[in-house]
């Protein structure tokens, strides 16, 4: 299945009945899939909104009513949705937002890139908040992460971003869609369903009382701390005997894996840490690893964004190397192999002195 169809089917299997969106390349096949499939789902609604801003607010509305709903877009469209995402964070509403990233500021290129790391992991909109960010690296993980996104969103009442790019969205790979096994989730005792027979409920992100607002903001912070403690996900690859560790996510991590396999054939001891949650960032494993591996090689399809989280995690220890390809260029594993091996030998020489 293609990446886009996979996200769509996984969402529907996770109980998503409502999709709101506005077209933008390279994710258009996803709304196309939802338009067709949701018409077969009883009560399903596909709605092409008049704008991204309308779409995100429809998502907010569906969430207020207690439904599992989703929107998707690509970088410039996601920028337009940030106001709504911020409101949903403030109002503690679950939502799943898929971003198939483009390359560069402004309209950017439609080719695969990882240019929205900052935007996704730092909240993105205004206000003191975070969004959970999931970064799959294969079509199978697109399915798994989409399903997980719905559960995390409901569990913590917070917007969750699934961060992909044009490679993952356009590519076809064999995939198994996770079946509908429901995790035990907290009851939705906040949704607006008409107050007949119960006290009324209010969902808002604003209060005139600064003390009350501060309490609300601290409540959000406590929630984020809980997410940081419980929901970190990463994959480690060949770390045991490594002398250099690559840190990469998504498509870049796939390419890095290919490069590492080549390096290993020549006995260069390189491993990898692949963050699967970009927020919460897998800080602990990096701190554990720097105790025995000195050199960290960050590879991104951007000019360098995740490198800042790696640097923060290292707290001045170890040494960071970087290679980035912004703007939609997909580097080949052999290219990365050459660059990593240069850095590897340079570090080795330094250590030898």
């Amino acid at each position: 299945m293609s990446g886009t169809s996979t996200i769509g089917e996984a969402a529907i299997q996770a109980g998503c009945k409502y999709y709101f969106g506005y077209p933008i390349t390279p994710q258009n096949a996803l709304p196309e899939y939802m338009a067709q499939r949701l018409s077969e789902v009883p009560g399903g609604v596909f709605l092409q909104a008049e704008s991204e801003i309308a779409a995100i607010n429809m998502l907010l509305g569906a969430s207020v009513a207690g439904a599992r709903a989703m929107t998707s877009s690509s970088s410039p469209g996601i920028s337009l949705k940030q106001e709504g995402i911020s409101y949903m964070a403030g109002q503690e509403l679950p939502a799943v937002i898929v971003n198939v990233m483009r390359g560069g500021p402004g309209l950017g290129t439609i080719y695969p890139a990882q240019s929205d790391y900052f935007q996704s992991t730092r909240g993105g909109g205004h206000g003191d908040y975070r969004t959970v960010v999931l970064a799959p690296d294969s079509v199978q993980e697109l399915a798994d992460m989409t399903a997980l996104a719905f559960d995390l969103a409901d569990n913590y009442r917070t917007p969750v971003i699934v961060l992909a790019d044009g490679v993952l969205a356009q590519m076809m790979e064999p995939v198994r869609i996770p079946s509908r096994k429901r995790k035990k989730l907290p009851a939705k005792n906040y949704i607006l369903t008409g107050a007949k027979g119960r006290p009324s409920r209010i969902i808002h992100s604003f209060t005139m009382d600064p003390k009350e607002q501060e309490d609300h903001n601290w409540k959000l912070v406590r929630k984020y701390k809980q997410i940081e403690q419980r929901e970190v996900r990463y994959e480690s690859f060949l770390l045991e005997d490594a002398e250099m560790v690559v840190v990469a996510y998504g498509t870049a991590a796939r390419i890095a894996k290919g490069a590492i396999k080549r390096l290993r054939k020549e006995n260069l001891k390189v491993g990898m840490i692949r963050p699967i949650t970009l927020w919460p960032f897998p800080t602990k494993i990096i701190q554990e690893t720097v105790k025995y591996i000195h050199d960290f090689f960050v590879f991104e399809m951007s000019a360098g964004q995740m490198i800042e989280d790696v640097r923060l995690s290292l707290e001045g220890k170890g040494r960071i190397h970087f290679y980035g390809r912004p703007g939609g260029v997909i580097p080949a594993p052999v290219e990365l192999y050459r660059i990593i091996s240069r850095h590897y030998y340079q570090s080795k020489r330094k250590k030898g002195r």
Partner: protein, 179 residues
């Protein structure tokens, strides 16, 4: 073993279908496989290509910087991709539409008058399946029987009436080089 193939031509020539048909068969064989399309905004007439990677282990990049095989359906794609093929690789050319000049010496070129063959079958549109048949024969990349068996699933119910001619086209291609 990792084998990367690029299928290329005009949009509308069935270039992406060729890749999809191959990728699905390889999946059924139990291989790791990726299919990555690239095409212009036009429904017909733009450039289109797709890369199919087939491997016994996880595939790093779905893109090919140096494909092992190239199937080229038109002139621009022939010029573009013949320079990328790995040394010792093979390029399969639709000689009905491609003027084969200035070919590299270190790659093998197989010419198939695909359009003429397709016209003999009575439908120019199955040119892609003819060349795919030849490709399976020369590359030996996946079992031909598996590919045939999977054809109904590829075409789907809507196009089931086209099953017969597509099958004929594949078989014609597969047996072409013997005769």
């Amino acid at each position: 073993m990792l084998i990367k193939t690029v299928f290329s031509g005009f949009g509308g020539q069935g270039v992406l279908s060729m890749g999809h048909t191959l990728a699905s068969a390889a999946m059924l064989e139990g291989k790791y496989v990726t299919y990555f399309p690239s095409y212009g905004a036009e429904v017909r007439g733009g450039t289109a290509n797709c890369t199919v990677s087939i491997s016994d282990e996880e595939i790093a990049s779905p893109v090919a910087s140096q494909p092992d095989f190239v199937v080229s359906m038109n002139q621009p794609s022939f010029l573009r991709f013949q320079s990328l093929v790995q040394s010792g690789g093979l390029i399969l050319v639709n000689s009905s539409m491609v003027n084969i000049t200035s070919v590299r010496g270190d790659i093998e070129v197989v010419e198939i008058p695909t359009s003429e063959l397709a016209e003999k079958l009575g439908n120019l549109k199955v040119a892609n399946m003819i060349i795919l048949g030849v490709f399976i024969k020369v590359s030996n990349i996946t079992p031909f029987t598996l590919l045939l068996k999977n054809l109904p699933a590829i075409l789907g119910e809507k196009r089931s009436r086209l099953l017969k001619i597509n099958k004929e086209a594949l078989e014609l291609g597969f047996n072409y080089l013997q005769g």
